[in-house]
Symmetry: C4
Subunit: 221 residues, 4 copies
């Protein structure tokens, strides 16, 4: 599935496009959030501390499977890649992901303030948009979706080990919430990762409104 660099869905073009989308959704404001995509044996990562909605194809780093830079951005002013890179590689190496996405969505952050160890919800159509990576099939409407929550740290790279431990403890999850910070979501392809991010954010947002109306998030089957 070789895609030419000029194609709109090559990571050089797709990452800037998705970053603009994420910015407009409030997931990547204030230089927060991030996107990494694998194509064949290369891993494409955005730079650190930049306005995500203004990233250009020339700003992207290319890494190999060992997270070693094999192509620096063509824009010579860009020297530092996203601090999320080790976290993205948790998904690439432990789950053979095709993409890993990171959002600072307020919905995700609020959910981590209202739930202790896990976010749980059942009986929602949008749960069907989540794939169970062990069973390799979509979750069902009556299933309980569980998203684990880890604690935040002062430095993003310090999250690497706890995210990895969480992924091992929760082999059926495609996502890890980080308390008072946001969420990491991955999938076999960027389409699946993005679709699951959208489903999760939708469910988080819905859960906040449900809480205001005193509606329980989990029902018996």
């Amino acid at each position: 599935m070789s895609i030419p660099e000029t194609h709109e869905e090559h990571p050089f073009n797709l990452i800037p496009e998705l970053c603009r989308l994420f910015y407009s959704l409030g997931w990547a404001t204030g230089t927060g959030g991030g996107i990494s995509i694998r194509l064949d044996d290369k891993y494409y990562v955005a730079p650190s501390g930049v306005q995500k909605e203004r990233i250009k194809p020339d700003d992207i780093f290319v890494l190999d499977a060992n997270a070693k830079v094999v192509e620096m951005p063509r824009n010579k002013n860009v020297v530092k890649m996203s601090e999320c890179t080790p976290l993205f590689f948790n998904a690439f190496t432990m789950r053979n992901a095709g993409a890993c996405l990171h959002s600072h969505s307020k919905n995700a952050v609020l959910v981590t303030l209202l739930h202790k160890k896990e976010f749980r919800i059942s009986h929602m159509e949008m749960i069907k948009g989540i794939t169970n990576p062990i069973l390799k099939k979509a979750m069902g409407f009556t299933n309980t979706l569980v998203v684990p929550i880890i604690e935040n740290t002062n430095f993003e790279s310090d999250l690497t080990a706890s995210m990895a431990a969480c992924m091992q403890a929760y082999p059926e999850t495609n996502a890890v919430l980080v308390r008072r910070h946001g969420i990491y979501v991955w999938g076999d392809t960027w389409q699946r990762a993005k679709g699951m991010m959208e489903c999760l954010d939708y469910l988080f947002g819905l859960s906040l409104q449900m809480k205001e109306f005193h509606i329980p998030l989990v029902m018996d089957d």
Copy 2:
């Protein structure tokens, strides 16, 4: 009313455009939601499980009045049509609809959590945007709008029979809410279906804010 395939309002072009709009309104995220439009004796349906906001004219299926595919999408990678198709055809066959729309709007889902069998509201200007299909005229400001709610199922196609039964029980409705899932809305034309979807979503959203302020949804005439 023959429209050339290159025209912006031909279903090949209109379905992608409306899907982008629905995505931006939060009605079709995470590959959810859907749109089907009839033109002359052909029925145009989007593919299943794809990012709705990225659908292209070449991704659309063309069906006949018996819901049989008469033209596969020109994009050979697209092999499966929307799972909503039997539900869309409820509207086409039972109501002679020109379009049937499906949204996962959070407003619609929340309304199904707060109401048992029906959503009811009266004395709102936006009710005038709803046509009574029996009286064949617009509803009045003081009328009570009733939208029936059916229960969700694990598989979308399993909704077909209960949606049909609901449509028979509520001959004056243009819409069926599906609990913890979303809503189906249809109309004589895509313009009417879209207009009524907008009015309904507006009223659902308003009803949630009214509930927070303890304002009743239905008034005596």
Copy 3:
């Protein structure tokens, strides 16, 4: 100030542009809302019952000062002008307005559910965006803005007399709220009318959040 018809700020082009904006702000969904603009001695009015965000220059009616059509839309399919036209002409004839705008904003509707005869707010910077038409100067930060509320009717044209009576009773207002319906706002120019619509909608929205936090809307000077 003659403006050629091809200019982006000629009403033929400006009305469609502002309708798209109003749609995106949620003020003109479901074919609701409306815009009318005067240029020299002509009055430009949008058609009735159409998707406001899809209006084109060829869909606009041109009227004279007596509200008589002097130019039909160039699009021959458009036969009926906005039902708001008599209400727009209240502003044109009683206040010599340059534009009159109508929105179905949920903020405006909710405000009419929470207040009886008038919406009142003081000590807000955005109040300075409102002009007092008697004093012919901007309101001050500590002034109390008063927006009167009239009752809705089954037919939009039936509002004409009560809106006119309200305008006479409130000579300092640039806007009339319609209960369970929306708001009419006018100004000397379309820029002023639009700016005041934005300020009012902002203040309505803010007032709803203030109510949730139990903060009074009006302070002593």
Copy 4:
């Protein structure tokens, strides 16, 4: 770092672009809000009382370090510069800022209604997006962000002295909230000022939702 006037990041082009963005975020509706950017030894300021989202390169004033106009807008109809100009120059002269931004965000206004002298929040990832100008480094996750609040006045220019006094009292702040009005944010570059505005608005919005859920804003370290 000389940038040609035709470049998209020259202030002539950047100010209109950022004003459109701020309008779409609800920070600059009703002619409110404002943006000023320094490039080399020139200061670029938008006009007063205009629709911020429609500003064009020809509408921008150019000032020197003493806030004296050195180039009038090329659009001869524009005669008055933003009333925020003296406030912007507080940031330029007292902090050697590269840009100063002003927003009327509802989140900022609501925060000033809920807090007396200061807005405070801790243990949020987005706090890392704020630079401490004394320490010249990013704040940490567990740090308490403090944003001072000053009282609003009838005339914007009357805020100049109290904003300056506040900046002296709070040498570590990059922002001053104005009660019932909005916020001023500055930074070494326009990128930093914009990024911090986004982080602050995000934190203000989050704090309002936290208050609804009775979650304290500040935690012990």
